[in-house]
Amino acid sequence: MTISALVTMLVVQITVTAITVFFLIRTLRKTNHQKPTNPKTQS
């Protein structure tokens, strides 16, 4: 692979992976801090 292709691939894929993991972890942490709300179904 050429350097430019390799750098582009690594930068893009690592960035996308890092952002995805960051938001997922943030979501999971927020979920764990949430108090349970109403029952699952209502009528």
Partner: protein
């Protein structure tokens, strides 16, 4: 009207995110994105792609999620009445598009999904063993019964389709938490595992290994080498915006419908980010690392540049996997077609929800009954796609419901949200109960940039020139040449500019033109039928109005 159907909610936050991500992750992540990238500037494609994601994709995700949650607060889970709650008048009929698009898409999408199920089966049972590359390609033609006749009668394909449709209907009949959410929690992790295993195998293929001719790096190099000159082409930008659009399942109405089953105090900002970025990970990291390095490794760069397309996954990959030996070959087939099946089913389930929500909300149908009606409707419509596959019916469904109308509905959504509902109220809705702070400049992006972005994509789809070459087309105008409409531009499609048939009948035989026109009439009929049902629902509501305060609003005050 008082709704006696129990109100459904997502069972867990992670279930909601996986279902939303499953809705977005589809076959296009693996089959469309890499082809778009190699055709539109390689590594440089990612620049317009990410810009489109940040300025059009993400904002529209937030808009759709918030429309759903807002509509639910008024007791609505279907797009016609969610639209109606945000803007009175004819907006209810714009919302009908949110049901129509999903029914139309499901009719052909479930058929494709059934191919992946069939190919998983055929891979495991060794049906591709010892076939040549041409024979594997012919295997597909035989599977969908391509031949000289007017009607295709693929019995095996119909069988696999019925199994797939029954599976979808069965899952849908268990509702959100017991059906869709459970399936998403199983399918999405499996999809990631299958995708990761295949990607690792694909990018580490060396020339000579398992019969390959070239290193995987040749394919990866072509895919990622930035050809910056391509960024001057408007066609590349339109292709990137279009890819972002389709990959996130925007403009379908299914995101709005899914979001309408959130609890009123649930976050939108972070959830939408998580679901959106999972889709990006699957597309940019996994999707880009499977089909291109494998096919280039065996077939060479020239062949891939010449033949790259959606069907490569079905007509070529089984032959290439066959070269991996008796143990790895069925496993690779299982992983590839299995992941496509998981990507497909999590999307097709989302297509069922808007119609079911409409029937439950407005006609008090049970979940099971509305799932059965959806299954029957899709089954009937899909028959036309299956039996007249070769005559362009399948393609016609895909073009109108799966391509053009998505952009139309998204444009209507953003106009409704920004202009009619009002950006101030809209921004409040997006940021309400948010777990992250969305930068305030996004308010201006949603107000000014996103509508322009979608408007340009919409205009582009109407007049796109041949080979997506806008510079040649515009310069041709100055030298007096007519605008060279591409065969897939809306104008070209509407006026049949690229069809050679002169009429509906030739020598007493129906032509392709006739079948295509009848397909359009059928689609129009379905839309009008749904619009009449929406009108009926308005009358029913007028007779028995909703209580002032819905369950959802009560919950919001807690």
């Amino acid at each position: 009207m008082i709704n006696n159907t129990p109100v459904q909610f997502w069972g867990s936050r992670i279930g909601l995110i996986l279902a939303m991500a499953g809705n977005a992750v589809g076959l296009g992540n693996f089959l469309r994105f890499p082809v778009q990238a190699i055709e539109n500037g390689g590594g440089a494609f990612i620049i317009p792609y990410l810009i489109s994601f940040l300025f059009m994709g993400l904002p529209l995700l937030w808009v759709e999620w918030s429309m759903g949650r807002f509509g639910a607060r008024k007791g609505n889970h279907n797009t016609p009445f969610i639209f109606d709650s945000m803007g009175k008048g004819w907006w209810i009929y714009a919302g009908v598009l949110g049901i129509f698009i999903n029914i139309g898409m499901a009719a052909y999408y479930v058929y494709i999904e059934s191919w992946t199920l069939a190919y998983t089966w055929y891979s495991l049972t060794g049906s591709f063993d010892f076939l040549t590359r041409d024979e594997v390609a012919q295997f597909f033609d035989a599977y969908v019964d391509i031949g000289p006749g007017l009607v295709n009668l693929p019995l095996a394909a119909i069988g696999f389709f019925l199994v797939t449709l029954a599976l979808n209907t069965w899952i849908l009949s268990y509702g959100l938490e017991g059906g869709i959410e459970k399936v998403s929690k199983i399918c999405m992790p499996l999809l990631l595992v299958f995708g990761a295993l295949l990607a690792i195998r694909a990018v580490t293929l060396d020339a000579g290994e398992l019969g390959t001719v070239y290193d995987a790096s040749v394919g990866m190099n072509y895919l990622w080498e930035p050809r910056f000159d391509s960024l001057w082409s408007p066609g590349v930008w339109l292709a990137a915006a279009g890819q972002v659009f389709f990959t996130l399942s925007l403009g379908m109405g299914s995101i709005i419908c899914y979001a309408s089953y959130m609890r009123s105090r649930q976050d939108i900002a972070l959830n939408a980010m998580s679901a959106g970025w999972i889709n990006e990970f699957v597309e940019v990291v996994l999707g880009a690392s499977i089909i291109i390095p494998i096919t280039v490794g065996y077939m060479g760069l020239d062949w891939v540049v010449e033949n790259a397309g959606f069907m490569m996954g079905f007509k070529t990959l089984p032959y290439l996997f066959e070269q991996w030996g008796p143990i790895l070959s069925p496993l690779a087939g299982l992983f590839w077609f299995g992941l496509l099946f998981f990507a497909g089913i999590t999307s097709s389930l989302a297509m069922g929800t808007p119609f079911m929500a409409f029937m439950q909300d407005e006609f008090q149908w049970s979940i099971k009954k509305s799932a059965l009606l959806f299954g029957a409707l899709v089954g009937l419509l899909a028959l036309s796609c299956i039996l007249f596959y070769q005559q362009g019916v399948f393609d016609e469904f895909d073009y109108w419901t799966g391509t053009v109308l998505l952009v139309v509905l998204a444009f209507l959504e953003i106009v409704l949200f920004v202009r009619v509902f009002g950006i101030e109220k809209g921004w409040d809705e997006i940021t309400r109960h948010a777990d992250i702070r969305i930068p305030s400049f996004y308010k201006h992006i949603i107000r000014y940039v996103t509508p322009v972005f979608i408007g340009v994509v919409l205009l582009g789809s109407f007049i796109s020139p041949e080979n997506n070459n806008w510079i040649v087309a515009v310069s041709g105008l100055f030298s007096g040449e007519p605008w060279p409409f591409a065969p897939d531009s809306v104008i070209s499609r509407i006026f049949h500019l690229h069809l050679t048939d002169d009429g509906w009948f030739i020598d007493g035989q129906v032509t392709r033109l006739f079948i295509i026109d009848m397909t359009r009439l059928l689609l129009l009929g379905i839309f009008l039928g749904l619009a009449v049902m929406a009108r009926q629902a308005v009358k029913r509501r007028a007779a028995k109005p909703l209580p002032e305060e819905t369950n959802f609003e009560k919950e919001d005050m807690l």
